[in-house]
Structure formats: structure tokens, C-alpha cells
């Protein structure tokens, strides 16, 4: 299923922040994780992911660091900042409220509330 652009614009950043909550990740890893864990719903091309990462970086929500990987190649790893963690918590609460509202309207039926760790 392909998500419309406007909806993706709201969901994409919080999804990336959520993925980085567990620890730092590099670009390709994020693309793969998004695709696999959302079963392709939030499938994101590189043309979308990297600008999104740069935006998050500009807002101070993530920080990118170049580091040599085990293979010896350089990769840029992204991790959440403190500000990013606060933002994730806030966005999670909002998404939960939206989901509940949608549920009460019958747009979505009995969808389980996502598990969100405290900020």
C-alpha cells in the first residue's frame, strides 16, 4: 500500500526517530528497517530519506557522525539527541491521540495502541 505524500510527510520523521530510539543507524539500514518493519507501508526511497535526515539534523533532533565501519568504509551514523527524544515522546502522544480519534470515528477499528517508551 502506498501512503499519500502529505500523510508520509507527517509519519516519516516520527518513524525515523522511533527507529533511532534503539540506537544509531546509517542511511541504508534505516531504509531497510522502515521497509521491513512497516511491511512496505512506510517504504521510503533514498531521495526522501536523506533530505528527511538532513532536516532532522538541522532541527537538532538527530546527529550524524562519520565513522569507519567494521568493513573499514566510512559511514554516517545517525543517533537521537536529547531534543530528538523529547520530540519523539511528544509526537508519540499526538499520534496516539490521533489514532484514538480515528478509532472513535470508525476510521480505524480496534487498532492496538503502539507501545511507546517514556521520553
Amino acid at each position: 500500500m502506498r501512503i499519500e505524500r502529505e500523510l508520509m510527510r507527517g509519519a516519516g520523521p516520527v518513524a525515523v526517530l522511533k527507529l533511532l530510539e534503539r540506537g544509531e543507524m546509517y542511511g541504508y539500514e534505516l531504509v531497510e528497517a522502515l521497509s521491513k518493519r512497516t511491511e512496505g507501508v512506510l517504504d521510503m526511497g533514498q531521495s526522501t530519506l536523506y533530505p528527511l535526515l538532513y532536516n532532522l539534523e538541522a532541527k537538532g533532533l538527530v546527529k550524524g557522525v562519520w565513522r569507519a565501519a567494521d568493513s573499514g568504509r566510512d559511514r554516517k551514523y545517525y543517533r537521537l539527541t536529547v531534543k530528538g527524544k523529547r520530540k519523539l515522546a511528544s509526537d508519540t502522544r499526538q499520534w496516539r491521540a490521533v489514532t484514538q480519534a480515528m478509532e472513535s470515528l470508525g476510521v480505524i477499528a480496534g487498532a492496538p495502541a503502539p507501545q511507546v517508551s517514556p521520553a
Binding site: Y26, G27, Y28, E29, V31, E32, G45, Q46, S47, T48, Y50, P51, L52, L53, Y54, N55, E57, A58, K59, W66, S71, R73, D74, R75, K76
Partner: protein
């Protein structure tokens, strides 16, 4: 893709300054280098290069994106994804480049963003300025003034209407051409009283110029001057006036600027007036009252010629000649009070009284208006509605005009500089409508000021409004600054002329009274109405002209600028008493004495106590 060669220049070119300073030749600015070094399969390096190239970012930012995309594709290949799939999954290149550019710019430090924004604003402003300048450059350099009026032709058309036998100039011209040149010694004869010791030299001088005098007297009796305007010298006249000098050939223009009009006749008229004055003195010395009378009447005639448009300089010359006539008459009456008959004195009274205007002598500004408006039409463009702007062609003309006024911008900076700086100058200098409006405003103030009685004006505690406005013109109205004469000085000449006339008319009446009653009156009121319609005014304080007897002779004086009656106190110079500079501003305790004349004071060892005791 083959990595580029590491030449020293290339290494320097692609290494940031801060890395060079630290001694690290990183080549971080070379964004193609990581793509080349990544050893990615075909299609991918080209894709990355296209995307990075499309981003409008700094080299360092591009390099960062290139490295990240390379790492991304390497990870994909390592995971076993076919290159074609990776390329397909990448998405739209243009969108990627656009979004990356926008996002990367957001990651820039705020200070850098502020600098970039400032630079951008400055750049836009500069571009805007350049566009405006380019527009104005074209406007300034392509516009042409519209010289619609030919003031010279208009003036000469008026001259042409006057019959030849009613024009004085052709006779003056012939007289000047035939006259022998004046020597240095002769030039100093004017104003010197004739005595036994200098009689011979004066007599010889007059004899040499006898024919000249006849012609001058004839010309002076004609009311119209009839001098035609031209921008060229009359070769015959020039040769006679400046013997031995080469005439610079100038072609006569069909429509010359008024500023470039030559008035060579004025110098000749001054010389002719001096000659008449000397002859009058000589005639009086010889007891020839009729010749002296004719000479004096001729002097007044010279000072009273009419012209269609008179410039200030012409009027100043007329005033000077009139003053000379008055001074000569004063001297003659001082040395020989019974020289003239009552009829001759009555003629003098009528003639002197008619000079100028009933009250104050009014300086006619028509010539100056013609000069100003002619300059405006030559310098400014014309939109047909009274407005226009400075033009390059006009400024070149301005140079010609300026050289006449002592300023020639192109001689200083050259025509190219005028073309380049002109569009900027245009914005600091008033446009045509504004300039003319300001000129008219000042002129209206000048006329309004001049219409007020002098005694009232002198009580003002500050400069007249027109003078204050003129002082504040700054660089916005250079044409007014250049062409507007110092009216305050010009009007002083008018004041001098008015007072001289009033004093002369009074003196003539006093002498007529004396001849009739064998005594001078005790008051000027006794002269009214038989010898004077009214007692002339001392225009400095709006009271009657001052008069008393001194050594049995009339003492006629004015308070002068200080408006204080000091009892006829003459100006004391180190050389002795003098009356000639008494009307000067800034002097107190002295009066302006008209009679006795200058020669009385020259040799007088002034003793103040004695001076008053005698009276």
C-alpha cells in the same frame, strides 16, 4: 570512474583553508573524489554525480552528500541488492537534489545563514542598483535638450524694428573704430580737477579726440542703443579696441547661448564717458558753459539708452556713467557755482530726475531671466510639460556655459567621466521643474524684498529670506548658484544711484534758489514747490535728505547704512577726509556726503573740532 590525478594545484584547490592551516591536505572540497574512489558498479556513480551536481550547495556540503550516497549504495550492494534495483529505488533525481539542497541549507549555522542572507540581499540590492544605473545611464546619455527658444534672435528682431537713424550703437561703433587708443596717462585723467598745471595735457588729449567727442555726443542723444547680440567679436571693433592683439576666430552661431553673448561696447562706453567728463571739466575751466552742459547731457544720454533686454552688467555700466555725470556736475558747481544759466540748471534738474524710477532705482532682471532660462533649455531634457532631467549633451554645453562663468566641468574631469558620473549626479541635482520653481521662488522673494523701503529693510535683524534661501541651495541647484548674481551687491549699486540722483537734484535746486535769492535756503523745505516737487528722501532712514550750510556752502549728506545722522561727518582715512566710501556697510559714526564733492575732501586736513566750529 577513474579518480582524478593529485596535482598540487588540485590538492590546494579542493582543501578548505582551515585544513591547510592545520597542515592537512584533505581535499574535502573535491566531491567527485569519493564517487571515483567508491568503485561502484556502472550507472550508480553517474547517478550520484548527477544528483550532487544538481544540488546548489557548497563544495563541502556536496562532498558530504556524495560520500553518504556512496556509502548507501555500497551498503546496498553488500546486502546483495542488484545495482539496477538500487538505482530504481533511489527515486526521482531532481526531487532528491531539490530536497537535499533545501534540507542541507537548513543545517547551516545561523551565523552563516545570516551572512548568506545579507550577501544575497546586498547582491540583489547591487543588481537593482546596477539595473537602475544602466537605465539612468541610457536616459542620461541619449536624452537631448530641446532648444526651443532663440533668445538672441528674439532680441535682435527687436533691434531690427528700430530704424537705423534711431540706433546709437552704429555711431558709437564708428567713433570707437576711428578713435585713437587711450594711453595709461590719459586713463588717469578722469576725475582730476583741471588746474593751470594740468590744463595743457588735458587740452591736448581732448584735441586728439575732438571728432570722437562729436560722434559720442551725437550717439548719446539717440534713445535706443541698438547693439545686436552675437557670440562673436566685431573684427574691426576688436582691432580698434585692442591694437596688436590677435582675434581668436569664432563662428557666429544661429542660436548662441545668452551667456556667450559678447558685450564689447560696454568698455568703450566707459572710456567715452570718461572723455566727456574730462571735456566738461576742461570746458568749465575755459568758461565754456554750453560745452560743459552738452557734455553732461550727453553723459546722461549715454546712461539712459534703451535696450529690448538689459543685462545687469549693462545696467551697472549705466549706473556708473550716471554716477560720473553726477560727480562731474558736483565738481563743476563746487568750483564754479555760476557757470550754468538757470535754464541749463532747470534742464539738468529734469534730466537727472528722470533717471531710473520715481522712488528707488529698480534693477531690471529681464536679461538675467533670459540667461537662466536659456541655460536650462540647453542643459535639461524637455518632457513638454515643463519638466526634464540633466543630459550628457546638456552638460557638455554646461561646460561651455561654465567656461564663461569660470567653471568648466569637462575641462576638469573629461567628457567620459561626465557620461559615467552624470547619471548619478542627475539624482542629486534638481530636475527642470524643481530648478525653475526654485529660481522663480527666489526671484519673487528678491522682487518682494526690493519693493520694501530700504529704511525698513535695514531694520531687519536677519538676512533677507531670498539670501537665506540662496545660501541653502547647496549642490542641488548648481545652475542657480552659477548664474544668479549677488543681488545684494547689485541692489547696493541701485541704492547708490538713487541717492546720487536725489542729491544731485537737490544740489541743482539749491543753486537755482541761490541764483534767484542770492542766498542758500536754511532748509530744503524752502525749495518746494518752486525748485523741487518735494524734498528728496534719504532712503536709508526714510527721512528728508540731510542739508546744512558748511563754510557758507551747501553740505548735502545721507546717514548711510548706519541710519545715524552724524551731522555730516565725513569718512576719515589715513590720508585725510574723504566721502567716497561712506555708504559702505559696517561703518558707523560717519555719513555719506554728496556735496561738497570729493576734491574738497581730498586735500582737506580734517580737524573735527574746527569742522563743526566753522558752522
Amino acid at each position: 570512474m577513474k579518480p582524478p590525478t593529485n596535482t598540487a594545484i588540485r590538492v590546494f584547490r579542493y582543501t578548505p583553508w582551515r585544513d591547510i592551516v592545520r597542515g592537512r591536505m584533505t581535499r574535502r572540497l573535491d566531491w567527485r573524489r569519493p564517487i571515483a574512489q567508491a568503485e561502484l558498479p556502472e550507472l550508480i556513480p553517474a547517478l550520484i554525480e548527477r544528483v550532487v551536481k544538481r544540488t546548489r550547495l557548497t563544495k563541502l556540503e556536496k562532498s558530504d552528500i556524495a560520500r553518504e550516497l556512496c556509502a548507501h549504495f555500497q551498503d546496498g550492494i553488500k546486502e546483495g541488492t542488484p545495482p539496477s534495483t538500487l538505482v530504481k529505488d533511489f527515486g526521482d533525481e531532481r526531487t532528491a537534489a531539490k530536497l537535499m539542497t533545501r534540507a542541507k541549507k537548513r543545517t547551516r549555522p545561523p551565523f552563516r545563514k545570516a551572512c548568506m542572507r545579507t550577501l544575497k540581499i546586498f547582491g540583489v540590492f547591487l543588481l537593482l542598483l546596477l539595473a537602475v544605473y544602466a537605465f539612468e545611464f541610457v536616459r542620461f546619455n541619449t536624452a537631448k535638450p530641446n532648444i526651443a527658444r532663440n533668445y538672441t534672435a528674439e532680441y535682435n528682431a527687436e533691434i531690427d524694428k528700430i530704424p537705423m537713424d534711431q540706433r546709437a550703437w552704429p555711431i558709437y561703433r564708428q567713433a570707437i573704430i576711428k578713435a585713437s587708443p587711450m594711453t595709461q596717462e590719459e586713463a588717469q585723467m578722469s576725475g582730476v580737477p583741471i588746474t593751470d598745471s594740468n590744463y595743457e595735457s588735458h587740452f591736448a588729449y581732448i584735441q586728439r579726440n575732438a571728432d570722437f567727442l562729436v560722434q559720442i555726443r551725437q550717439a548719446a542723444s539717440i534713445p535706443h542703443m541698438g547693439f545686436p547680440w552675437s557670440n562673436t567679436q566685431d573684427p574691426e571693433l576688436f582691432k580698434a579696441m585692442y591694437p596688436g592683439q590677435e582675434l581668436e576666430p569664432l563662428s557666429a552661431l544661429e542660436n548662441p547661448s545668452v551667456v556667450s553673448i559678447l558685450l564689447p561696447h560696454l568698455g568703450s562706453l566707459r572710456r567715452a564717458a570718461q572723455l566727456l567728463a574730462i571735456d566738461a571739466s576742461l570746458a568749465a575751466f575755459e568758461g565754456d558753459a554750453n560745452r560743459a552742459y552738452e557734455d553732461l547731457m550727453a553723459l546722461i544720454g549715454m546712461a539712459s539708452h534703451e535696450s529690448p533686454t538689459e543685462t545687469i552688467i549693462e545696467q551697472l555700466i549705466e549706473i556708473a556713467i550716471f554716477h560720473q555725470a553726477s560727480q562731474t556736475l558736483h565738481e563743476l558747481l563746487w568750483h564754479n557755482p555760476d557757470l550754468f544759466t538757470t535754464d541749463q540748471l532747470a534742464d539738468f534738474a529734469r534730466t537727472f530726475e528722470s533717471f531710473g524710477y520715481p522712488d528707488e532705482y529698480i534693477i531690471n532682471l529681464d536679461g538675467e531671466h533670459a540667461m537662466f532660462h536659456d541655460a536650462v533649455q540647453r542643459i535639461y531634457s524637455d518632457d513638454g510639460h515643463g519638466d526634464g532631467h540633466l543630459t550628457a549633451k546638456g552638460l557638455r554645453e554646461f561646460g561651455i556655459l561654465g567656461s564663461a562663468a569660470g567653471v568648466a566641468p569637462e575641462e576638469v574631469v573629461g567628457p567620459q567621466v561626465v557620461s559615467v558620473t552624470g547619471p548619478i549626479t542627475m539624482h542629486f541635482v534638481a530636475d527642470r521643474r524643481d530648478l525653475v520653481a526654485k529660481y522663480n521662488e527666489i526671484i519673487a522673494l528678491v522682487i518682494r524684498e526690493h519693493a520694501r523701503p530700504l529704511c525698513e529693510r535695514l531694520r531687519d535683524t536677519q538676512d533677507p529670506e531670498w539670501l537665506r534661501m540662496h545660501a541653502q541651495l547647496g549642490t542641488k541647484y548648481p545652475l542657480i548658484q552659477m548664474l544668479m548674481p549677488a543681488y545684494d551687491r547689485v541692489f547696493e549699486r541701485g541704492i547708490k544711484s538713487t541717492m546720487t540722483r536725489n542729491a544731485t537734484v537737490t544740489l541743482i535746486a539749491l543753486e537755482r534758489f541761490r541764483i534767484g535769492t542770492r542766498a542758500y535756503p536754511t532748509s530744503l523745505d524752502e525749495l518746494v514747490p518752486k525748485y523741487l516737487p518735494a524734498v528728496p528722501e534719504d532712503i536709508f532712514d526714510c527721512n528728508p535728505l540731510r542739508y546744512r550750510l558748511h563754510e557758507g556752502r551747501p553740505l548735502i549728506y545721507s546717514t548711510g547704512f548706519d541710519q545715524q545722522d552724524d551731522g555730516g561727518h565725513p569718512y576719515i582715512s589715513p590720508e585725510g577726509a574723504d566721502s567716497s566710501t561712506a555708504m559702505n556697510r559696517g561703518k558707523t559714526g560717519i555719513d555719506w556726503i554728496f556735496f561738497p564733492p570729493s576734491s574738497y575732501w581730498w586735500n582737506k586736513q580734517y580737524n573735527e573740532e574746527e569742522y563743526y566750529k566753522q558752522d
